[in-house]
């Protein structure tokens, strides 16, 4: 494979910045294009490691819940089903099994922490322009 998905997203963002933004300028469309470029950078940043962690965390959740995603299930469908089971089990455990509830909440903390995104830093200032 020549480009990973996250590398491709980063390239799209750069192409947007170099080829699209200058033509649109400081207009509503230009600012929207800049937001889109920022979104692509944000999604690309750390996605490979997020996905590695997702796989490990989901396997851990399967162990906690005692159920697994079906072999013919897509990733998102399987995750949704496990998340629904987590929600139901957490609601039950809050009332009947505080230790289990705490364990599930700990897992959810690590899952949501892994999904947290980082806003890309603005490009460094043009030092030549600043000096001029």
């Amino acid at each position: 494979m020549s480009l990973s998905n996250s590398e491709a997203l980063g390239c799209f963002a750069m192409a947007q910045g170099v080829m699209v933004l200058p033509a649109l300028g400081d207009s509503y469309a230009g600012k929207s294009a800049a937001t889109l470029a920022g979104l692509m950078l944000m999604l690309a940043d750390g996605e490979d490691i997020r996905q590695t962690r997702r796989i490990a965390l989901r396997a851990e959740l399967e162990g906690l819940l005692g159920q697994t995603a079906a072999a013919d299930e897509g990733w998102q469908a399987g995750t949704d089903r496990l998340m629904a089971a987590l929600g139901a089990e957490l609601a039950r455990a809050e009332a009947a099994d505080p230790a289990c509830a705490a364990q599930l909440l700990d897992w959810l903390l690590r899952w949501t922490g892994n999904e947290r995104l980082t806003i890309p830093a603005p490009p460094p200032a043009d030092t030549d322009a600043a000096a001029a």
Binding site: T35, D80, L90, T112, R116
Partner: protein, 329 residues
């Protein structure tokens, strides 16, 4: 571009042949379509702002409520634009909306940009929390009670629960766990009901070139309720410019609360702080889940809505679990 509509409307309001120019749509503000424009007739010329409903929105709100709240705040001397014309039916503007004066030289800061308020940040913060206190010092009058919905903690929670249930695309275990804790721990009111802005945060107020507070905007979620709601929302870390320990990218929490207490004549209710913090997070999740729904249903392609579905949603999802762990400990 709504040039023809604005020409007809302003000509009627001014009783003259008004020319419209300089129409420019503001970027962001995903709840409404917002345009600035200049109206001119004879020797008179004024820069104005038109806000109207878009085809899809982060939140479902009423233009009457927003127009009334701006008018009430303006009459009380708070820093807000002057309301000019309400079009509740959309007959003038193409969809329900209103016209107000533009705040010259004002700029809204990006709430995700560190250090956006520069060297005057602490001064801006005190002015901001003083203005919020002045709003909360206003005693609701008959017109407020007739126009603004009353929503106490339980009512507000029910409102956002309904939004999440209506718009969820997939399981939301963090939001659902937050709701269970919130509904089981609803606090007593912190005092008599007040006017609540409902979306009081960095990015929804304008500052001048020196970062001094010029105007408070975006009143579409105004209601009568508990002022702790505004305090929790504006101090939510999401709106903190990625600067821990600094609220709204301006000043310390202690300075903010002191300014608010001095201006409002009320006392900060420390007992309910945790509840309102988690409520703020839950409210955020409701807004971001609604945004994701609108995007997924292809009702909008506005990148602001796409952003809302991603960054703030995931930040508040994590924050909900962190707060739940603290509150349950």
């Amino acid at each position: 571009m709504p040039e023809a509509r604005l020409t007809a409307l302003m000509s009627r309001l001014w009783g003259a042949d008004v020319a419209i120019d300089g129409i420019d749509r503001f970027h962001g503000g995903a709840a409404r379509e917002t345009y600035r424009f200049r109206a001119s007739a004879g020797g008179r010329s004024e820069w104005l702002v038109m806000r109207r409903d878009p085809s899809a929105s982060l939140i479902d709100t009423s233009r009457e409520v927003e127009f009334h709240a701006i008018g009430r705040a303006h009459a009380a001397g708070l820093p807000v634009p002057r309301p000019v014309h309400l079009d509740a039916s959309g007959v003038d503007l193409g969809s329900p909306g209103f016209v107000m004066t533009e705040i010259a030289g004002g700029r809204a800061c990006n709430p995700f940009e560190p250090g956006a308020y520069g060297a005057n940040a602490a001064i801006t913060g005190v002015a901001l929390f003083t203005a919020l206190g002045q709003l909360h010092a206003l005693e609701p009058d008959a017109a407020d009670r007739a126009t603004l919905p009353f929503m106490d903690a339980a009512g507000r929670l029910a409102h956002w629960k309904a939004e999440i249930d209506r718009h969820r695309l997939r399981p939301e275990p963090a939001a659902d766990a937050a709701w269970r804790w919130l509904v089981a721990n609803i606090p007593a009111p912190s005092g008599p009901p007040t006017l609540v802005h409902g979306d009081f945060r960095s990015g929804n107020f304008l500052v001048d070139a020196d970062n001094r507070l010029l105007a408070i905007l975006d009143w579409e979620m105004a209601h009568l309720g508990d002022p702790m709601e505004d305090l929790a929302w504006v101090t939510d870390p999401l709106w903190g410019h990625q600067m821990p320990g600094v609220v709204a990218g301006t000043c310390t929490r202690e300075a903010a609360i002191a300014a608010w207490e001095a201006a409002s004549g009320r006392q900060f209710d420390a007992r309910s702080r945790g509840w309102w913090q988690l409520f703020s997070t839950y409210q955020g999740l409701a807004i971001w889940i609604t945004s994701a729904f609108e995007v997924a249903m292809q009702k909008t392609a506005d990148p602001t809505m796409i952003f809302a579905s991603l960054y703030p949603y995931r930040a508040h999802n994590l924050q909900a679990v962190e707060l739940l762990k603290e509150l349950r400990a």
